[in-house]
Symmetry: D2
């Protein structure tokens, strides 16, 4: 049985608290590691502060080299990393491989952006007081940062914090999810082999008290959190003076207009709805279909859902496996039951087996049902017809959340209406809200968060402007 | 009878050669002014070089003040200026008023951009050789510039040269068209009242030899020319070491797809085809209509053309007046006759009365006819059906020119195809190629020119980068 | 006696609570106005939400027109506005005139920036998943915003909130200081005459409960506060989900190196130290002088301080008048006394007369004295010698604050060291930290705040990105 | 003996005209290759046009992959490539290795920039005519390009044309110098192994007639030339409608002020003056030293020049080897002799041995001597004292050329004066004009050229804007 030491201050350590990581699919033990407490966290903070200045002053050619060293290792260990990720999270291997590919991409973009950190040269002579004066705006890393990443993309969502931290010269202590710490601990081993100053990045799962300290300790200048809305907004208040980036979830909507490419829409919606059992921040949860094509869409979509293959995450044929734990599967079961009790029609699915929950499609839902109004974070989707595009936009907007939305149409006016009126961080034309490329600005409005990731955007949030005003 | 002195080196002068400016509509004398020769040009060059350094060093708050002084004067003299412009060019007063509005806009944008001249602060530490080095890129005005502007927008196309020249700190000698020098001489009087160093801008019509000297004299660092393709490309060769911006013409195409807003398309095409008798660089010359709506379009378009009111340019009801001179009207008449002789069908128009030429619509044309392949620069348009959007794009591209094109559609894929495949400087969606806002990049590909105007873009072409590499 | 109605939801209203505004110099009544409570605030919120969509959709040419209407009115009422501002705040009239000039500048920049709101067109084909996809990033106004502005620049610091709000299309409720509400109520009358939708901007002083509601009410999407650090950081925690911009104070340092222009340094330091009795966020509070020139600097500086003319704020000869109230003057008196008791040497000043406090210079101070470690916000400055530039930088950094710093030197290496090592938002070369032009990024690090003002920078903070991902 | 086929249209071909490449140091045959004529050029043009569309549409992830494939091959073949380059050009191996490093850097930057091609999203609603309209500016590759590169940096100056061509999607036919074609033919073999469409890049030396055709043939849309001023400016006139980038030479000046780091200045000036026998566009040709330190500088500089080790280019101890050919050495000898005849004092050097010319230092020169006024392109430098910085700037500017200048000083005012007043493309602070990092904008003013290289800047010159104007 493999045992993973945790990565603290440039060293691989053990603690007294063993943490077992089990495959949610069959509860087999994947590996053991350790939970860190306050002492480990203090050590990590100390080491990070010691190298803070060194990190800040790394020239970009060194940061590029470090980040590309990571890229090359991720490429060479891709299969192994995907398997570990698949086992710890019950993510089907085909998606796990895709996630490693995206982590490679995220580090590559960060490597390139490390040479292109923001800098501005501005005129100040727009007024007599500024005559023959000019300004130079340089951005400096905020310094010690705390990162908290979730179980659902254990690698790439951690990388979206670590990679820009290295690119900017921030040091970071990253807390992965307790359920899925192994892929980031593998990453820790890769990072440790690079030229990055030891202690610049620490990675370890923590007990609750230490996790809280990431939020409250004033030595951290930045908190970047990806997780659930309730936890996130609470942190923002507790974070006091530190800058806070929140990447939270939602109940993303999709609109399918009759002018769209129908087959492509069905295919992409199946992916958006059921990939990784819907445990995705931008999971396609609510689908609105123009009424002329609703019945046909419903039929094809159900057929598609029925064809999905459930199974062991490492099986390359598996489309859908278990959810992260039985507790969540039970919660989803209850929400679906509640919806059916309140009049929703169950088109397919609705059954649970331990931590596995079937691909489930509901119709006749309403905005008061939890499956519609809350973030279901499970393989459940609602399907409703609409007769007017404007109205479909309003329904998508009828939510406390606003991360991304998908719109399938070939009509320019619908495209423009969607872009201008949907209250979300991203509108994905002719694809599901689940679409993301790692250099695009990504993040939510309303209760879905604040700040944007997407390497270049995260970099800006991790740096602070300083201006030099100079006569010439 | 009003007499205009010419504006040279900060003074209003007379020469021995009187230039009569006549209204093309009725040949009445509008005013007299003077043609300049070599001696005047030398004087203007001398004065411009004397103040070159002063212009270059004007702080932006002074340049803003100067440009806004011009804006305020243009606003207060708008009606008078439009009338002069209308009379000298036979441009209907409603369009003349619009042109003054645009000149106001162009100067306003230039005033604002004078505070936002390009500047870059760049990282150089992407390699060990650049470790702890950084770069500052500042743009400096090229210096003495020659501007040559045409008769068809005697004010605003001159302003697109003068305004960015002032904004950047270049000095400029502007040669307006001999036919229409009055509006720019009015502008000269306005400029003379501002805080601009005397001699920074000179404006006067010139004899041929002096006009050539603008192109060949090495003391000019920039030549910016708006006019016909043949003249323009010849100048480029003669310009030797000086930077050259060419804003030439074309035979712009329009595509009308069946998903478009039909009535709007008809209305805008009438404007694009016949405004100022088609004497517009981005005149809508070739209209391709999807075959399902071709007949209806043809009918409505002819009805619209028939309804246009011909008359004296100062009459506010006039839609179309004379062309700039009889020579051009005769040329257009011959081209239309040639097309008809070669099999084109004349749907409306085709008659000439002195320098007036009727709104004319042809169909059954082909690419070899002059009305199709050359720049007609008259109130003539060809109307052809198409069955396939791709093919319509190819027909628009089947030209030596590429300035702008219009596409009326509500289909996203057609929009994208048009944007990516049309070989032009600008694709105007749901409007005619004739559309222009004065801050957009404007200019042609293929034989239609090189360089872009649109204030910010012209500014870049009028400045040159200098980098400071500095250790830190 | 002039009475000012408050500006709420597009109407000028009275309330039951009269607020007397008195000249701090002689306690004479300047004018009366009203204090608003919860009912007024609710009314303002309602009206603002009603016009939220309209504001968001204003085209930039309308926003420009509105903002320039304000500019023109400010120019024409400049003298009157400066007098009111001078009277309510005891700011010497010469500085009050300068503040109106700056407000004019701030609105002008906002007018221009309203046409240049951020927009990005990005490539997404850096990975196969993004093949033939592209992204459009458009920024949308956050919506209803709360602004809280301080007494010390009652006009321009309010304008730094209102002007970008109008430019972006945010609506705003602004709470001016109770001591100095009159200049912004004058501004309200100007705004009311423009084409801005009624209710988009409300301006009124509030009771404590309503002031708190600005911070806690979730209908506000943004809180922008300029004021003291303690109040500001508390608000940040109370603001919950809303975006928060804090422009707080500091104890700015200045370094005077021997290679500098000595006379200019003395002159500018006198301004930075004593202008408006040091009641300026970027007041030059701690001056470090290279030891070779320390004695001479001390002598000249004291002579300069002695020559400052105290008097009535409206007297054009007045250099320094009363502080905002006696409470603050007493506080400053106590801090100076504490410093002297702990060993500081009083070089000049130190006496109080009611709310007037003399220009005061101390030496032999240390970092534990309040006059050194806290924000004195009064006409007090410490003067200390240094022998090593590095060390001077460390002393400036030895503070909880970090707004701006001034450095007088002609040495390139010192310039670079200062820029790279000073922990502040702005380094002002060869001028005092008190220097500000209204388009430069302005804001603090450490306890001095978060976010940047400076129109373009405030605009970014008032908007949120939305991306359209589109295949092509 | 190695024989290199030439690379035309994706194939390695032979022609009837054999070209012998000899080591200038000892005239030994390094390898043979072929000279191409019109038939080969036609073939290359045909193939390039066939793949033009394919190149234009390559997604950036493919362009990145291609460019990084080249990078990896250059890294792995670095030593071999440097040796070939050293032998064909007589460039000392230590400099040849540096050149391969820079080529690696140039391709890496291009790989990254291929994902960041310029794109703009602009507002058009600054006027009522643009209400609810927006613009998208996309840049498209110009298409078939002709590149002509010189002997002195046979690899990296060719790469500065080829790498941005691939990044933008332009196809290119590159003519290397006849003297030094081997390193680019090695590069051709590397390129041929990548996924680049065959025919996109062709590389071969040409006879005079074919070389001329690169300039005059209208199928080429761009000519990018690096070489001598006389040839370059002639080409510009012959190039007719095609865009032309000229990277020409100069007689770069250096200013050494007394506040500088003296030892560093001496050391860097020796490099700038004598590296690769001064056959560098930004060779430090004229050194102006502040009079207080002139004598000491002269002494140390002469001592440094004396210590340079002459020898075989492959010897790692060699500092200076032969010039490119005896003709050039003779020309330099004559120019030096002319200067001495006219009163210049020869401080060291002045002797020729075949194609080897000694490091040579002159003083008492004047602006009329060829060694001062023309581009010496040899190991000759003039050394003159100055008493006033302003005057030194004027002397540097007293030239028809303006590529780069070096300024050694620690004085801020001198730095600013140099940046603002030197008429050059780049001012290098505290280093010689010879300094270049491959991402900085690089190019000359006055007779030194037009346009800028430096990957991102070259990319802009190789693309053309197209705007989509769209209602929304």
């Amino acid at each position: 049985m493999k045992n993973y030491k945790i990565y603290c201050g440039g060293e691989f350590l053990e603690t007294k608290t063993i943490l077992e990581v089990r495959n949610p699919y069959d509860n087999t033990l994947v590996a053991t590691t350790y939970l860190a407490g306050k002492d480990i966290l203090e050590l990590a903070i100390d080491k990070a502060l010691q190298v803070e200045k060194e990190c800040q002053e790394l020239p970009s050619y060194v940061k590029y080299r470090i980040l590309m060293q990571i890229v090359h290792q991720l490429i060479s260990k891709k299969k192994k990393l995907a398997e570990i990720l698949s086992l710890e999270s019950a993510k089907p291997i085909k998606y796990a491989l895709g996630e490693i590919d995206r982590a490679i991409q995220t580090f590559t973009i960060a490597a390139e952006e490390s040479k292109r950190l923001p800098k501005e040269y501005i005129s100040l002579d727009l007024t007599a007081a500024g005559n023959r004066k000019e300004g130079f705006v340089k951005y400096f890393p905020l310094g010690l940062s705390a990162g908290i990443s979730p179980f659902n993309f254990p690698m790439n969502l951690a990388v979206h914090k670590i990679a820009p931290a290295i690119a900017t010269g921030c040091s970071m202590i990253l807390k992965p999810s307790r359920s899925t710490p192994l892929s980031t601990l593998e990453l820790a081993m890769i990072i440790d082999e690079t030229d990055l100053p030891k202690g610049a990045i620490s990675i370890f799962p923590m007990d609750r008290q230490s996790g809280n300290q990431l939020v409250t300790d004033e030595r951290f200048k930045l908190l970047t959190f990806t997780g659930s809305p309730e936890v996130g907004w609470k942190m923002r208040t507790d974070a006091k003076k530190k800058k806070t980036i929140l990447e939270l979830g939602g109940n993303a909507g999709v609109i399918i207009a009759k002018t769209c490419d129908f087959d492509m829409a069905v295919k992409r919606c199946l992916m958006g709805a059921f990939a990784y059992s819907g445990q995705v921040c931008i999971h396609a949860q609510r689908i609105y279909v123009e009424k002329e094509i609703f019945e046909e869409f419903k039929e094809k979509f159900i057929a598609g859902a029925r064809a999905l293959k459930a199974g062991h995450p490492l099986d390359t044929n598996t489309d859908i496996s278990s959810m992260i734990d039985e507790g969540n599967a039970i919660r989803v079961e209850e929400w679906v039951q509640e919806a059916v009790n309140q009049g929703a029609e169950l088109l397919i699915g609705g059954k649970r087996d331990g931590s596995y929950y079937e691909p489930t499609v509901l119709t006749n839902t309403n905005e008061k049902m939890k499956v519609s109004s809350l973030e279901v974070f499970g393989p459940v989707v609602t399907l409703e017809p609409y007769s007017d595009f404007d109205d479909a936009v309003k329904q998508v907007n009828n939510s406390n959340y606003g991360l991304q939305a998908g719109v399938f149409t070939n009509n320019i006016m619908e495209m423009d209406l969607a872009f201008n009126e949907l209250d979300v961080g991203g509108v994905i034309l002719n694809d599901v809200p689940t679409f993301r490329v790692d250099n695009m600005p990504y993040g939510g409005v309303k209760d879905s968060g604040m700040g944007r990731e997407g390497v270049k955007y995260a970099i800006r949030d991790m740096m602070e402007a300083k201006v030099l005003v100079k006569p010439y």
